[in-house]
């Protein structure tokens, strides 16, 4: 009993404790920062409609129906959602959906950009809807990041965080971070309001305003002056850092100071 008490703290215990905590935090950080990749939109031609219809029948119709009319409680109608919605949903890998859940998750794209364009052309042919933006409409270099910040702060920051780091919504839904999202997909998301996101049509935020927002988001790539961003998801990450790493260091130091030298 007494010998056990004497040897409860190995002298390497504080170091091991700190390393374990560091590993835990690094693991969480790696799990949180999943990257999504997508390619820029290319131009489409009307000839793609028939090819798109084949792709749609093979990959989408089981839920959305052969005529894209949707099924109650399963999948929405796609008539009138426009090419922009298809390019966003398929281009970010959200569609085809892998499993039903609180929301469709961005994953590796299953189609080439050419196939996505064909699908988009087919869905656009079913009813008028927002089109895929041109390269000029989404070029961050042409936008005004300062105005973009004002618009972002008013319309987007409550869900996506003040610098686009993302954040939690209710019941397992979340607003994704926007740093890895391509300018075209950001533009299309505002235009079409995918999933939980409201629609921000051109009458609400003009096309130039959307480009300003993209410019503001791309300006965040330069980093923040205030040190580590910890995902900029707010007090949760900062609290985790404070409680586990800093408090862990304090506890480890206390154990080391109190332990007898061998």
């Amino acid at each position: 009993m007494h010998s056990l008490a004497r040897h409860r703290y190995h002298r390497a215990a504080p170091v091991v404790l700190v390393l374990l905590l560091l590993g835990l935090i690094a693991g969480i950080a790696a799990a949180v920062s999943t990257a999504s990749s997508a390619n820029a939109a290319t131009t489409t031609s009307a000839d793609d409609v028939s090819e798109g219809q084949k792709l749609f029948a093979a990959n989408c119709a089981s839920c959305h129906g052969l005529g894209a009319e949707g099924q109650d409680g399963v999948a929405p109608s796609l008539i009138g959602v426009g090419a922009a919605a298809v390019d966003f949903q398929v281009g970010t890998g959200r569609m085809p959906m892998q499993a039903s859940g609180p929301q469709a998750i961005a994953k590796r794209t299953q189609f080439s950009q050419a196939e996505i364009s064909q699908l988009a052309a087919f869905v656009a042919s079913l009813g008028a809807g927002p089109a895929i933006p041109t390269a000029e409409q989404v070029d961050p270099a042409l936008g005004d990041a300062a105005n973009g910040m004002q618009l972002f702060r008013t319309n987007c920051a409550m869900c996506h965080g003040s610098v686009g780091g993302g954040g939690a919504l209710s019941q397992g839904k979340f607003a994704p971070n926007l740093w890895e999202t391509t300018p075209t997909h950001i533009y299309e998301a505002m235009l079409t309001g995918p999933q939980s996101m409201p629609v921000f049509n051109d009458a609400n935020i003009t096309s130039e305003g959307k480009r300003d927002i993209i410019s503001y988001l791309k300006a965040q790539d330069e980093g923040s002056p205030g040190g580590l961003r910890l995902g900029t998801i707010g007090p949760v990450a900062e609290g985790l850092w404070g409680w586990f790493l800093v408090l862990g260091l304090v506890v480890a130091s206390t154990v080391w100071i109190g332990a007898r030298s061998s």
């Binding site: 409550m158 919504l169 209710s170 939980s196 609400n204 040190g227 007898r260 030298s261």
Partner: protein, 363 residues
């Protein structure tokens, strides 16, 4: 303590409790490696020196980062400089601290020391003297019921009581004064919204046409003319902000008594949470839920912004809207109840005498 030194015989005291426990004495003194092995002592010395050396390196790092890294350029360079200076200061302080403790633990004297405690109770003379001192003080001050020289002592008593009562004012008056010049609590019940005032976009203040608000849209709205206010713009905005949403009219449940408060699925609700006044603006288009980021109160926009989750007690106040001749969305009146969190005279102050019941608006 070591059981080998002084085995305790539990069996001998079996059944009855001893009068006092034996002094177990000091634990067995185990010499440290540095006490018996000069090599280990030298090693510990080198370790301490290395820790102090780490501190010196940290100081050099901090100074080097301050002088070498150009902080006038990009934001990323400022972060890098801050990081390096901070790391340098951390190493400089931590190295000294770790070195000093390691020095004390491995190389300094390691003998148990005994310091006897004395009784906490003072001697009888000291206690009697203290009580005597207090009594003498009371007698000298004349505050007791001694009776002699009452007029002078009365003056002292009165002035002391006045001073003690007045002193907190020096603290309280500036504090209360800084709460703001507005003491008319009826003002809290009203916002800038008036009949016919256009709903405009935040922040640029351009008016909104009903046709602009497509299904699923969410507009962040300020009253027309807010940006032209010279005084109290922030205060007026904090009360008057509104979220304008268009739902599919089939999803919208019109509240009794509010049949003409919305327009073809377009509804406007105060953005100020009825819990403690955070801006509620996390609108989930598919579920029609509006989530408050502070305490997760959730309101159902399709059903009169009733609370479906969280600590808020009341629905968000609805702004009655209509369409003017040019197709722009206008307010039909101010909110019919005070916006934001509850306060003690809230129900008394409801505008134009409407009821402030939890369902709101019925009169």
């Amino acid at each position: 303590m070591s059981t080998a030194d002084k085995p305790v015989d539990h069996e001998s005291t079996h059944g009855d409790v001893p009068d006092s426990f034996e002094d177990p004495g000091l634990p067995y003194h185990r010499p440290r490696r540095a006490d018996v092995d000069p090599k280990a002592a030298n090693k510990a010395e080198r370790q301490v020196a290395a820790l102090f050396g780490l501190s010196i390196l940290g100081t050099i790092l901090a100074l080097g980062a301050y002088f070498m890294i150009d902080m006038t350029g990009e934001i990323a360079s400022i972060r890098f400089a801050n990081m390096m200076i901070g790391l340098g200061i951390f190493l400089a302080m931590m190295g000294i601290g770790l070195g000093a403790i390691h020095w004390a633990k491995t190389l300094m004297r390691d003998h148990e020391m005994v310091e006897e405690r004395h009784a906490l109770r003072s001697s009888d003379e000291a206690r009697a003297g203290a009580i005597q001192n207090l009594q003498d003080g009371v007698e000298d001050s004349g505050l007791g019921s001694d009776g002699s020289g009452t007029s002078r002592r009365g003056l002292l008593k009165g002035s002391l009581i006045t001073a003690v009562l007045a002193a907190p004012l020096a603290l309280l008056v500036p504090q209360i004064g800084n709460m703001g010049g507005q003491w008319n609590t009826r003002e809290f019940a009203h916002t800038m919204w008036r009949q016919g005032m256009r709903l405009t976009r935040d922040p640029d203040g351009t008016p909104i046409k009903a046709a602009d608000v497509t299904i699923g849209s969410a507009f962040h709205v300020i009253p027309d003319g807010l940006n032209d206010l010279e005084h109290g713009k922030i205060e007026a905005k904090a009360k008057a902000v509104v979220l304008l949403i268009r739902l599919d009219p089939r999803d919208l449940k019109i509240q009794p008594g509010r049949e003409d408060w919305s327009f073809d699925g377009i509804v406007a609700y105060s953005k100020i949470c009825t819990h403690v006044g955070c801006p509620v603006a996390l609108y989930e288009q598919q579920t029609h839920h509006l989530l408050c980021p502070c305490h997760q109160s959730t309101f159902d926009v399709a059903d009169g912004a009733k609370v479906v989750f969280g600590p808020a007690k009341r629905p968000l106040p609805q702004l009655p809207i209509a369409i003017d001749d040019e197709g722009y969305i206008v307010a039909k009146s101010d909110f019919h109840e005070p916006i934001g969190s509850s306060y003690w005279t809230r129900l008394k102050n409801t505008s134009d005498g409407l009821s402030g019941d939890t369902e709101g608006g019925s009169h």
